[in-house]
């Protein structure tokens, strides 16, 4: 993996003004993945969107880590179901038009 795909946790936490322990806690709950490289800890830039979402839920809505774990899994299911609904609606339209 290229270096550009990763962002140092220290840089991230300084920029967003969040404690490093929060990131470590998220990893403990397997909500994000931490990459250890060159003796430093990184997160994948592809996870930034999800990480920002988890931060909003935790800091803005005061949802604790156990709650985040539950909410995150449920949201994943909601998003999958929404995609399935769109796909089914498109299929249904196919038969309605016949």
């Amino acid at each position: 993996m290229e270096v550009t795909d990763l962002i140092s946790i220290t840089t991230f936490c300084t920029h967003y003004n969040v404690p490093v322990t929060f990131i470590n806690d998220l990893q403990d709950y397997e909500l994000i993945e931490i990459v250890v490289s060159d003796d430093d800890n990184y997160i994948k830039t592809t996870q930034l969107n999800e990480l920002e979402k988890l931060m909003r839920l935790h800091f803005d809505l005061h949802i604790n880590l156990e709650g985040l774990d539950a909410v995150y899994n449920l949201l994943e299911r909601v998003e999958n179901l929404q995609s399935e609904v769109i796909s089914l609606q498109n299929t249904l339209r196919l038969y309605e038009d016949l």
């Binding site: 839920l57 809505l61 909601v78 498109n90 038009d97």
Partner: protein, 298 residues
């Protein structure tokens, strides 16, 4: 348009304590937060209203102004100045026989004159960092447009954004353009631009994910004896060999002649063709005679 009642938005009474307001806000924010209600525009709208109400009511000074001036609370200073001017004017007119005092209508008129009947931006500037709001846009495309990857320039808030639309996007699918939403407050990150595709199909092909379906007319003789047939695909005509004794409703699959697979460059679905056999009409006497002979043979 009816004025927004922030107390009603948060579901609290006008005498609610700061603690009650905070509690009500948190409860409603958890219910309507866009992160917890993906792709729900109604929830997003409600969340903005709740935020706006909280920003005003959670600040004692702003709340006081709101209680006094209602939806025009942000313009309270300008209002006071205008009121003074009007009072002076009325005092002058009163000397000439006019009446004094203010009605509710006058109150509205002052704001109407100052701001054209609309309140300007209600958002108060606190010290908290807020992520900018997400912008939602719907992009209408033709099915033919999404057969190939192409670029489009969209204008969002007077800013041109060039986006690449991958081949094979689905009707109703949403893509996120990060950081192109509303500006963050107090150094907070920008929101995202969410584009939902509405794909209109004006072709004779029906689409289901990456497969295409169509019906082709087949004459009786080709169906019975077999032969070649030119059929339309999404990208042009192809020659098909029809087997002898083909039945009505027979389906054939043209592998790889369907729709491009989303984000799988060079991969395509299949095209399914259903044969619809057309029997001849307006038979001549000779034809009738021959068909009768055929009937006898069976």
């Amino acid at each position: 348009m009816a004025a927004i009642d922030y107390y009603k938005t948060l579901g609290v009474s006008k005498t609610a304590s700061e603690k009650d307001i905070k509690k009500a806000y948190r409860k409603l924010a958890r219910k309507h937060h866009p992160d917890l209600n993906p792709n729900d525009k109604e929830a997003e709208k409600k969340f903005k209203e709740i935020n706006e109400a909280n920003e005003v009511l959670s600040n004692p000074e702003n709340r006081k102004k709101y209680d006094k001036y209602g939806e025009h609370w942000q313009n309270s200073e300008a209002y006071e100045q205008a009121k003074q001017q009007q009072q002076q004017q009325r005092a002058y007119q009163g000397q000439a026989g006019g009446s004094g005092g203010y009605s509710e209508r006058d109150f509205e008129d002052i704001f109407g004159n100052m701001f054209g009947g609309q309140s300007s931006g209600r958002r108060s500037q606190g010290n908290s960092r807020f992520r900018g709001q997400d912008f939602n846009a719907e992009l209408q495309l033709d099915l033919k447009d999404v057969y190939e990857e192409h670029k489009r320039t969209l204008t969002v808030n007077n800013k041109n954004i060039r986006i690449t639309i991958p081949a094979g996007v689905e009707n109703g699918q949403t893509i996120k353009i990060k950081g192109h939403g509303g500006k963050g407050v107090n150094g907070g990150p920008n929101g995202d631009l969410l584009i939902q595709f509405s794909i209109q199909n004006h072709t004779k092909f029906k689409r289901d994910k990456d497969n295409l379906y169509t019906t082709v007319d087949l004459d009786l003789y080709t169906a019975m004896l077999g032969g070649d047939l030119m059929v339309d695909t999404f990208t042009g005509k192809v020659k098909l060999t029809v087997k002898p004794e083909t039945q009505n409703g027979t389906k054939v699959k043209l592998k790889g002649k369907g729709f491009p697979k989303y984000k799988k460059s060079g991969q395509f679905g299949d095209l399914y063709i259903t044969y619809q056999i057309k029997t001849p009409t307006k038979l001549t006497d000779k034809e009738k005679e021959l068909f009768t002979e055929l009937q006898k043979l069976r």
